[in-house]
């Protein structure tokens, strides 16, 4: 089996995820989604490597990552919710109070 395509797809997904985080200037939910995408790509990478190397450790890690990602997105969404209550907007380019 030619694993290289899977790696490419994982790397592509990761780059798209990071790019989404960096390039997105308005919507913080999209940032969260991009982060999820990056985590997804990572766990996909783990699974592919696990199959490729014939080692289960990768799949265990993937399960952990799923759990961590769920926790992270729930906490993140909670923070966004609280932030929205305070500010009335969740635009990233308006969240620059911590300027120098």
């Amino acid at each position: 089996m030619d694993f290289i395509h899977f790696f490419f797809i994982a790397a592509l997904l990761f780059i798209i995820g990071v790019g989404g985080v960096i390039l997105n200037r308005t919507n913080i939910v999209v940032v969260l989604m991009s982060l999820e995408l990056a985590l997804l790509s990572v766990s996909l990478n783990f699974i592919v490597f696990s199959v490729c190397l014939g080692d289960l450790m990768g799949q265990i890690f993937a399960i952990f990552i799923l759990i961590i990602a769920a926790c992270e997105s729930s906490i993140g969404l909670a923070i966004i919710l609280v932030y929205f209550r305070v500010r009335g907007s969740i635009r990233i380019d308006q969240a620059s109070l911590l300027k120098s």
């Binding site: 985080v21 960096i22 200037r25 990233i92 380019d93 109070l97 300027k99 120098s100």
Partner: protein, 661 residues
């Protein structure tokens, strides 16, 4: 006794200075006068013992500086040269003290004045009695300091302040040369005491020194540097500008500084260094040329000065030129003889001028005097004696020394001496001219002053009259009396104090010159005096026409403005130096280069960088993420290419450059 000569004036000065407010003006005057007259009396005894008895005295007090081979003592050496100076200085100083009691009687700061006068005398005595160059330098600087204090005595007057600063600074230029000369002496001889230096001088005539990267004959260089010192102190051409300005001080100060003490220090130095100077032929040539030019310059300038004291000041300058010129021709004894004689009649002239100024309400401009002959007959007589002595009229004091100097100038077979001789002869003409002019304008002319002043004009009190009377006696007779002792053929008065190489000896040649040549300077004087008398008595209007003609006015302005020396110095030297100091060394170097590379530069760069770094902290999430991404990327590059030190360094340099830009 010998120490008392030197230290009594110091005692008087300290008592008058510290306890003057308890003693009052008269009390302070009494203390200083008694101290100084005792010192004069003891100087007389010293003159008898050392000069006439021929027993030089050397007193050792204590060591001063000792460092390896450098050795300076506090010690006093009294030889015939010293005692002659002692007599002159203490005599004039005593009379000036006495005179000041009357002249400065109304001044509230009389104790301070008397204290300064005594201190001045003390430093002058230190100068003449020192047995080494360093101790001599103490006196040298001391008289400079006291001249500052005395010229600046009326310290509320801005002109006095400026004149005092000028005197101090111009003297300092010469002092710098003298200090260099002393350094040179130490380098060559390894000692600074007279005995060693003068004993070794013949051995070092082939020695050479490197100065400003040029190799000079050591003795010639030292001689010229010492002469630079003398130029400053004795107001020779080049550094003479302080002397006329020093007239801002009270008149007794002028009499003390410019007759007997300060300006003679330069001539004394040359005479003292005679065993050294005899081995520097080139320095001697320079000395005689500068001396001759000074005599000429000052005499011509004095012709048209209108300030009474300034005329006498320039005449001092001119006579000092004669003395220096005599030193340059190796006739130190003649120079010292003229120094002594000059001290008497110049003090007489200055104090007489002071008497005149005192009488006409502190007016110094001769054009506003006139007709004082009947009002101040005694002062007039004294001034006539002083002026005739200054002109070198036969059988008065000046005749015996001044004409000898000019004879020597002719008799010495060298270009420099003949140059100086002709200038000196012309200066003799000018001397007579301005002396008679002074008398004519002050005493003989029609009264030009205000009526009130003339009505109240009267002779000063007995101290002033007494002093003038006492001074008139040596002004008439000391030349005749002292001639054989000081410069007589084969006199052994000087002993080892003065030295003249046999090949430089020209006194004998001068003695046997033809009478025509000998009488020539005297003719110059008589013609000058007569011309002046007739012009100012009879042809005043023609003088006025001459003065206001086109060429005449140019010439008059040229001389009256002192050959534009002050103008040139101020505009070319002083102003340029001040500009340089402000615009270059202060603004460009101190405030510019050093500060922009130093504290201000560093702090500015730092603040710039800090501001740039702060701009990174924009508060936007995506900016932070970009930085995160970039740093991850760079870290990855490092990881991929391995942690090679040089690459990381290059990378860091790249980052730093990128951040600065």
């Amino acid at each position: 006794m010998y120490l008392n000569i030197v230290f009594l004036p110091l005692l008087g000065s300290l008592v008058a200075g510290f306890f003057g407010r308890f003693l009052g003006g008269r009390g302070a005057g009494l203390v200083t006068i008694s101290c100084i007259s005792l010192s004069f009396f003891l100087s007389g005894l010293a003159f008898y013992e050392v000069g006439l008895g021929g027993s030089s005295t050397y007193l050792y007090l204590m060591p001063w500086l000792e460092s390896d081979s450098f050795h300076v003592d506090w010690a006093f050496c009294f030889d015939s040269l010293t005692v002659v100076m002692l007599i002159v200085v203490t005599f004039i100083s005593t009379l000036v003290h006495l005179y000041s009691i009357e002249y400065m009687g109304g001044d509230p700061h009389l104790p301070r004045f008397m204290s300064y006068l005594s201190l001045f005398t003390f430093f002058m005595l230190i100068l003449v009695t020192a047995d080494n160059f360093v101790q001599m330098f103490v006196g040298w600087e001391g008289v400079g300091l006291c001249s500052y204090l005395l010229i600046n005595f009326w310290f509320t007057r801005i002109q006095a302040n400026k004149a005092a600063i000028k005197a101090m600074l111009v003297n300092r230029v010469g002092d710098f040369g003298l200090a260099l000369g002393i350094f040179g002496i130490f380098i060559c001889f390894g000692a600074v005491d007279y005995a060693t230096v003068f004993a070794l001088a013949p051995q070092l005539s082939s020695f050479s020194l490197t100065f400003f990267n040029i190799e000079f004959g050591a003795l010639n260089l030292i001689g010229i540097l010492l002469f630079v010192g003398a130029v400053g102190k004795s107001a020779q051409l080049g550094l003479h500008t302080w002397l006329p300005d020093a007239m801002e001080g009270p008149t007794p100060v002028s009499a003390l500084i410019h007759a007997a003490t300060m300006v003679t220090a330069g001539v004394f130095l040359l005479a003292r260094c005679s065993p050294l100077l005899e081995y520097c032929p080139k320095a001697l040539i320079v000395i005689s040329i500068v001396g001759g030019m000074t005599a000429f310059f000052a005499a011509t300038t004095a012709l048209v000065q209108n300030d009474l004291k300034r005329v006498i000041a320039y005449s001092t300058c001119s006579q000092l030129g004669y003395m220096v010129f005599a030193c340059g021709l190796s006739n130190y004894s003649v120079a010292v003889f003229h120094l002594g004689n000059h001290a008497f009649f110049k003090a007489l002239l200055f104090l007489g001028a002071g008497s005149v100024i005192h009488a006409v309400g502190d007016e110094q401009d001769m054009r506003k005097m006139g007709g004082l002959r009947r009002l101040l007959p005694f002062t007039y007589a004294m001034m006539v004696i002083g002026s005739l002595a200054l002109m070198g009229m036969p059988f008065l004091t000046g005749f015996y020394s001044k004409d000898v100097i000019l004879e020597i100038g002719y008799a010495t077979y060298s270009n420099a001496s003949h140059f100086a001789y002709w200038l000196g002869s012309f200066a003799a003409f000018c001397t007579a001219f301005y002396s008679i002019r002074l008398l004519a304008l002050c005493f003989l002319a029609e009264p030009n002053g205000s009526r009130a002043l003339l009505l109240s004009a009267s002779e000063g009190g007995w101290p002033m009259g007494l002093v003038l009377g006492i001074l008139a006696i040596p002004s008439m007779f000391i030349g005749y009396l002292g001639r054989d002792l000081f410069i007589g053929l084969g006199t052994d008065f000087w002993g080892n104090a003065l030295f003249c190489m046999p090949s430089n000896l020209s006194l004998v040649d001068a003695e046997f010159m033809s009478t025509d040549i000998k009488i020539f300077p005297l003719l110059c004087s008589i013609i000058g005096g007569g011309a002046s008398f007739i012009l100012y008595k009879r042809y005043n209007y023609n003088l006025f026409l001459m003065k206001t003609s086109f060429l005449g006015r140019r010439f008059y302005t040229f001389l009256n403005r002192k050959w534009f020396f002050d103008k040139i110095y101020n505009e070319v030297v002083t102003q340029k130096l001040l500009d340089f100091g402000y615009h270059f060394t202060y603004k460009s170097i101190d405030r510019g280069l050093i500060e922009s590379l130093g504290p201000f530069g560093i702090s500015n760069v730092l603040m710039d960088q800090v501001n740039k770094s702060r701009a990174w902290h924009s508060g936007y999430l995506y900016h932070y993420l970009v930085i995160l991404g970039w740093s991850n990327f760079l870290f990855g590059i490092c990881f991929v290419f391995g942690f090679k030190f040089s690459r990381i360094l290059a990378l860091l340099a790249f980052i730093v450059l990128w951040s600065i830009l």
